[in-house]
Symmetry: C2
Subunit: 246 residues, 2 copies
Amino acid sequence: MLSKAQIKYIQSLQHKKNRQKSSQYVAEGDKIVQELLQAGMPVRAVYATGDWLEQHTTLLATLSSGAAIPVEAPVLKQLSSLTTPNRAIALVDMPPLADPLPEAGEVTLALEAIQDPGNMGTLIRIADWFGIRKIICSPDCVDIYNPKTIQATMGSIVRVRIAESDITPLLQQTAVPSYAATLHGQNIADFPAMKEGIILIGNEGRGLSEEVIALATHRITIPRFGGAESLNAAVAAGIICGRLLI
Amino acid sequence: MLSKAQIKYIQSLQHKKNRQKSSQYVAEGDKIVQELLQAGMPVRAVYATGDWLEQHTTLLATLSSGAAIPVEAPVLKQLSSLTTPNRAIALVDMPPLADPLPEAGEVTLALEAIQDPGNMGTLIRIADWFGIRKIICSPDCVDIYNPKTIQATMGSIVRVRIAESDITPLLQQTAVPSYAATLHGQNIADFPAMKEGIILIGNEGRGLSEEVIALATHRITIPRFGGAESLNAAVAAGIICGRLLI
């Protein structure tokens, strides 16, 4: 049974300031809860329907420092921030942030001022697909532990490390190549596959800052043949990865 | 002034069956209303704040068979299906559906059972960016005139023609090459840029149907280097266009 105070605490984690105070977040959904457990992430509790818990007893045995708590569907609905609540919800400790400095020999994705939680989750999923193991978020990006972001990662949040840093000083400190996505750069098809470096993606409306564009070693553009003024930021990142990483 | 009956009618167009009955849809937002007018689409009415109407008098002069109607912000909020209502809303006649048969020398995007309105809008925007002028939707796709879809197209709906057809008979009738996106095909990087043909994208969860995959002349795959099980359907379409159309 969950106490009213526990329900209130989990609901409170829908807000960034409460997540930051407690260093915990909530992940919703059958698949992501399974992935968190499989990856050995610090899951503190799983709240799920009785049949879900029965179906996953082996996996739940790995829950060394947490509890598996059966709850009825109406309680799950209360805990959920989504319009369609799930059969399982996990309470998870936030992992520490990664070192923002890009590593030589690795590809890093750096995001400046991404605002939409769904875009952020989709970007994490794209990084995970292409084997990018670290994402650097500028401090004005949407919180990666926003419930909509976690949902949109489709579980990829367990495999990608997140660092936080302003992008400008980072580019000043690193010697790896950097590729800034802009509307006025060189055709992405002109570049061979990159072996290391930083892919830079900017805000949904205004793109990357002038400073970041100026500091990048390359300015890259997805050529346009039609009338759309821009592409969705996550779609653009996907297209760039599809050219530079394959 | 808008009558209660008019307000009710516009609200009713949030539902597919009412849109189909009347062959009209609602487009919300400053930019898309401007694009509809610029493109000479059959706009029947523009409902906007007085200052919006004043700012766009030249454009509104093109509104030959419709009316520009000033409404107060609270009324716009009533008309809107979005949580953040806009300063302008247009009532538009649906254009007739295009002929589904792909044209020789052109690239067509064919969508099977796309369910998410946001994905559908993003796919239309991607097509418009890459100069694809026609999209074929299977009958079980989400309605393209869903308000969230229209919103996600960011205006591209005015430049892309939409056809509706089951995909299997279409592939049986056409001689142009077809590229089916699947998890078990040939690396997209192996293909030269395509000059004509059909790019086939399937449902968000289950992908393309077996029949469509079997009938396609090529089965294509975005190689995966990390742990994500799949990519978002619109992101996958973007990546494929970024390889096959540049």
